[in-house]
């Protein structure tokens, strides 16, 4: 996002200069195209990882969303669902916030604040790195986390979403 923003800034500057030369329309098209290219680069794949004691090997995306929204609070074995996410100031966190929650980072914070305030759910634990996240999931029974690529760590198991390792 930051990269896209910086690129747009430079293009905007270029646009202002070219405008002086009358190539405004052409540059505007280029500007819109670059933004969409940047936006497309954000839709990187995500993967789910879970603790062997709790998370299933496979689940539907809708179920995943329900879990991550705090609507479902326990696994079938009765273990409490513990959500682990990357912080929204990371790319993976941004992707997660946008694709799963359809919210910005701030909106996500407010969402979970509301739930916690009313005692309706336990807020996720946010991490700065995927390794920390995976370590937490491996050590916490019932934990499930969202990362960018499937892990090869034996302590956590990948959770297929709609039969796919990534989504």
């Amino acid at each position: 996002m930051l990269l896209a923003f910086n690129m747009n800034k430079q293009l905007l500057s270029l646009y202002k200069k070219l405008r002086a030369f009358g190539y405004a329309r052409v540059m505007l098209a280029i500007f819109v195209l670059s933004f969409s290219l940047v936006a497309k680069s954000q839709e990187a794949p995500l993967s789910a990882v879970g603790n062997p004691l709790g998370a299933p090997a496979d689940m539907k995306l809708a179920e995943l969303k329900s879990i991550l929204l705090g609507e479902k609070q326990r696994w079938k074995n009765g273990n409490r669902i513990i959500i682990a996410l990357m912080k929204t100031n990371t790319q993976i966190g941004k992707n997660t916030s946008a694709r799963i929650y359809d919210m910005t980072g701030d909106q996500l914070n407010k969402y979970w604040l509301a739930l916690v305030f009313q005692g309706k759910a336990q807020a996720p634990t946010f991490f700065n790195s995927t390794s920390d996240l995976e370590t937490f999931v491996a050590q916490t029974p019932g934990a499930i986390g969202i990362v960018d690529k499937p892990t090869i760590d034996g302590d956590v198991k990948p959770v297929s979403i709609n039969g796919q390792k990534t989504f």
Partner: protein, 515 residues
Amino acid sequence: MLINLKTKIWLTICSIVLMFSFFTLFYFPRQQGNLLINNYNTEIQNLANTVALGVKIAITEQNFEGVQTAIEFVKGDPRLQFVSMLQYDTVWDAAHSNYQIKKTVFKTFPENEHPGPGIVSNDSVIIKIAPYVTNVMSGAIQLGFSTKAIITSKEKIRNTSLIVSSTVFFIGILIGLWLARNISVPVLALRDAANRVGEGDLNQKVKHIHHDEIGELGKAFNKMVDDLAKTRQELNEKNIQLSATVATLNNTLLELKNTHAQLIQSEKMASLGELTAGIAHEIQNPLNFVNNFSEVNIELIDEMLEELTKNNFIDTLAIANDIKENERKIKHHGKRADSIIKGMLEHSRASTGIKGPTDINLLADEYLRLAYHGLRAKEKSFNASLKTDYDPAVGNINIISQDIGRVILNLITNAFYAVAEKKKQVGEGYEPVVAVSTKKIGNKVFITVKDNGNGVPQKLIDKIFQPFFTTKPTGQGTGLGLSLSYDIVTKVHNGEIKVTTVEGEGAEFVIVLPV
């Protein structure tokens, strides 16, 4: 107004209990209530601050652990009424020139509570606000806690205070009773016993001795009473002895007075004795005249009878006139002898003590001649020059003539004795002189008796007026003469008697009498 000990004890106890009651019923509950409320307010504020901090951390760092813990803690408190998260939004007007801060309630727990963003504390709920500020949103945590617990605590404190105050009051009553019994009663018993001892009953004892200072006081009191009784017994015995001694002393005093009177009488008799020869000499003279003139008259009567027989009436008349003249002389000298005898009789009698006008010059002269002749009668070889100088201005003064006469006689007699003794020692070449003079100066009369005898040694000057002191050999003087003279002059007549002497040269005694 007398306040007895029991009242003082009760007043003290009541004062302490009342003060304590005031403290426990009013001051203490009020203070505790205020403390409770302050602590409660602080606790609620701290909780609100904690939640606000948790919210801030959650928003800025995406760490919900703190706010989750704080919310769980707050929700678990039974006093919680509600906890709200407020959101503050800046609302600009259409022209974007002015703005307002719009406060809205973001979320509230429990959901059935709907407190407004501007709610304030009241009697039933305490509201505390803790703001939070982040880049994403600003607002405040609004915490509402019920005051039921405080009210309940205050009631508990009030009830406890009432119970404690009542207990203290009851204990105070018991202590008052105990003190009254242990202090007031024995003290009053001691007072009553002291009063009865004061009235004379020395059989009083304090019973029921306590084992404290009051008990020791009781023991000391009993010992004091025992000592008093013993002392009284001893005093009574001493009193009896003293009475016997006083009786003995009284008898002795009576004997002494009698002896004193006898000694004085002896002194008088002694001085009278001194005068006897002088008196005899003095009486002899007028009696000689009486005898002689009587003999002459007998002869003249014989002559007159003879002339009568001769019928010579002229010679008879002449003889009769001679006889008459002689009879006048006989009468005169007879009266002289009579007055001398009367004077001596008065001298020998006790003093009447009544003062009367007396010719001092006559008195002094009479006793001078009587004393001189008296001494010459005893010592025929004794001779002395008598010098007199009587001030006519002296006249009569109010004195007891017998007493002053005795004094003058004593001084003159002592003067003659002194010169006589010196004559014996010195012999030829020594001329004894005794001078008696009187002088009136102002309102005083001075009677001086001076001699040129051996004088009085200086070491004896202070003793000569002491009773029984004498320089004469034993048997020759009673030692009372000057002592009596001193008392007569100073005590009876308010006068003075002075002595000036040079040992070996003579002495001068001066009687000073007020007019």
